[in-house]
Symmetry: C3
């Protein structure tokens, strides 16, 4: 039996560290946060969150900060490394050792893949990974699951496609780890250059029912969830390679005619051109509603690791 | 009869959207904020303001943030676009749609003239315009009126000069819109290259008693209010044009000998050289006191649009 | 007899402005802050701190912000001048005059030596110096003393070495001023190019028992406190001069074999290579614990100058 107290003081570094029972528990707690997200609360009054963003972010940083404030807590931190002592040559570990003296929990985004692990190793207070280079983004995976559960009432039994850049996309790595705990059929849809990282698949081998394909159109009619990610031009050595694939995965209203009526389209955002704005007003569009679920999930995580539930 | 409840959920995008009765109501509420600005309050406890500044600002951003804190609320946001997902190519509308999930009210400054209108159209929560390119800055106009009313006891019947860059100066555009609701004589004093925008005048034609002139000295003795703005060098194609006009509108103590004893000198700040520092210690100088009125006005606006009054 | 009320409204600009009785009083109050630093308090509820950082900082800025939040207060400000109106040519004094309308206390870091004095002269609310160019950093000196007192139970009678860059290091200037109030033996250890500033020594002449030397090894066995600072490459005109001295003052575990068992090693941080990481796990290492004392001292100072104790 999972209990709230078992999360107290815990780091949230990788989706691989959480089993199904724990994930479901977090999602349940996130749902309970909805009324507090409306009217605020004093659950974390007097507590301080440090948000250390070594890479730019709108959504994740503001989402964590709003989550902390809705629970009555306060926030310190930086939104870019230039204003910190990193510029003076301080090591990442020294920065973490310093900041943990000022806060009760640290949220960190950093371009290096092992950053969150290293921060958690050094800090005595809980560390939450808000994006570790191209490797993981576990709180995004949790909010994705929470959104799916809200839209579909369940996760088991769904046909889910992850589309776009599966090689560098940290959100789809964490989501694949998370979905390995559920009975889903997962389609991994990408151009050949951006196929799902092999070490991600190795870690879920035997636990995840997946198919790799480059052909979105043929599987589209079967899908319950279409999870789109950005394909970045700079990932391609030759511009013509980018031009060749970018339109293959561009979702628009026309294309969605072949989809199930209750298909939901998700996206970790920011979206550039990979979902046409004509989809925004359709009932398929869940990517902006998805944002709200990030607030619930992060409220739950902060309250759990600070032992307030 | 204007009532506080009629402001709940409302956007503050343009001074053209408010009639005299509404403006007077906001100014009255601003005056009531003075004691709360001293000792704080819990009026907006649990509420969150998002400040989205796509252009640099000291005054306006800190003023809104202080206003929110004095009312017991919290703040999230960014002070420059570089730390946000704009850098990743996200549209302005998508950023707004995201952020409205985290906050109860949005304050936005953006270099494009239609930015605030677009934000208000997209967001379901109230949007307050903190500067829309060279077009408008309505909360500055409200604090200007509040300052005038405090200094003079009234707005009607005053002789007011707006001096400097009336073409690109967003504060004077909003102020002209606001003053069209009052019985004032308005002098628009500028070099020919920086005359008041024609579309500003068109919108108040017939409602505003104004005179355009390049000659400050001759009208100075008649003025109750001298509102100075910065003339920016970069507005002039030829440096010599700038040199020719910049001193014509430079206010110093010597020049103010010709002014009424109770003339007040105002400035939206930042001031560079257009008001000499020897004016600072005279009773004419109201530009630093003016800053304080921004706090009152923004407290009132936040409380009104959030339905807390 | 020093009383809390005598600090109300006072500026904290230079360690030279405080006598021993006052310093001891502040340190006592800092010790009383420890429980509030754990669980928070409402001592400064409704009050606002403005942090104006014209130079990058992690520790000092976040430390002040955490201190304010632990006391129930709020924070506004900027972490770099680029986002403020400085970029538009506003004078430092005008920025201070503006910001004091929004806050109850100002913390300022600025590259110019007289910045804090100038800010205090202009502002009617208290100003706390968080680093005035290469000149002073008084709150760092106070946290250093608090750390020493905690580690050693006293300050009088100790042998203390300040090592590294004593010419440009603002923390060691303020610390020398502070230590002039105590009965200590002070070793000033530096390469000849980076000897203690003459005007610092002049100000404490006759009140401070000090020895200047370039030889750390020979005095090491006598020391109770070894205070290390960063020697910055850019201070040396020729790279070979830097290479020649940087290792002379590099502290590692091997070197500390000659030290007293209860020697404490301190550093204002950020540390680059001047203390090897193999020292971190020894009982000598106090530089990370030192960070925590900054929180206590800044909580005490904020509460004192705001008249809340």
């Amino acid at each position: 039996m999972v209990e709230a107290s078992s999360f107290k003081g815990r780091d949230v570094v990788s989706m691989l560290d959480f089993n199904r029972e724990e994930i479901d528990f977090i999602l349940d707690k996130a749902s309970e946060m909805k009324p507090l997200a409306e009217r605020g609360s004093d659950l974390l009054k007097g507590r301080i969150l440090a948000t250390l963003f070594f890479e730019p972010s709108t959504r994740t940083r503001l989402s964590f900060e709003a989550a902390m404030h809705r629970l009555g807590g306060e926030v310190i931190g930086f939104a870019q490394p230039g204003v910190s002592s990193i510029a003076k040559g301080e090591s990442f570990e020294d920065t973490i050792r310093t900041v943990e003296n000022y806060a009760d929990v640290i949220v960190v985004r950093h371009p290096e893949e092992d950053s969150a692990v290293r921060a958690a190793r050094v800090a005595e207070i809980p560390v939450i990974n808000a994006g570790s280079g191209p490797w993981e983004h576990p709180t995004q995976a949790l909010l994705d699951l929470h959104t799916i559960r809200e839209a579909k009432g369940r996760i088991d039994g769904l046909n889910i496609a992850l589309v776009g850049d599966l090689l560098y996309g940290r959100t789809v790595h964490s989501l694949a780890f998370a979905l390995a705990n559920y009975d889903v059929k997962l389609y991994l849809v990408s151009p050949p250059q951006l196929k799902m990282r092999r070490d991600v698949l190795e870690k879920v081998e035997g636990r995840l029912n997946y198919v790799e394909t480059g052909d979105l159109k043929s599987i589209l009619p079967e899908l319950d969830v279409l999870y789109v990610t950005r394909v970045q031009k700079e990932r391609f050595p030759r511009p013509e390679d980018y031009e060749a694939v970018k339109d293959a995965y561009r979702i628009d209203r026309e294309m969605l005619r072949d989809a199930r009526e209750d298909l939901i389209v998700m996206h970790p955002l920011p979206r550039v051109t990979e979902i046409a704005t004509d989809v925004d007003e359709t009932p398929h569009a869940w990517y902006f509603r998805q944002v709200r679920h990030g607030l619930y999930v992060r409220m739950a995580l902060l309250a759990l690791v600070l032992g307030a539930l």
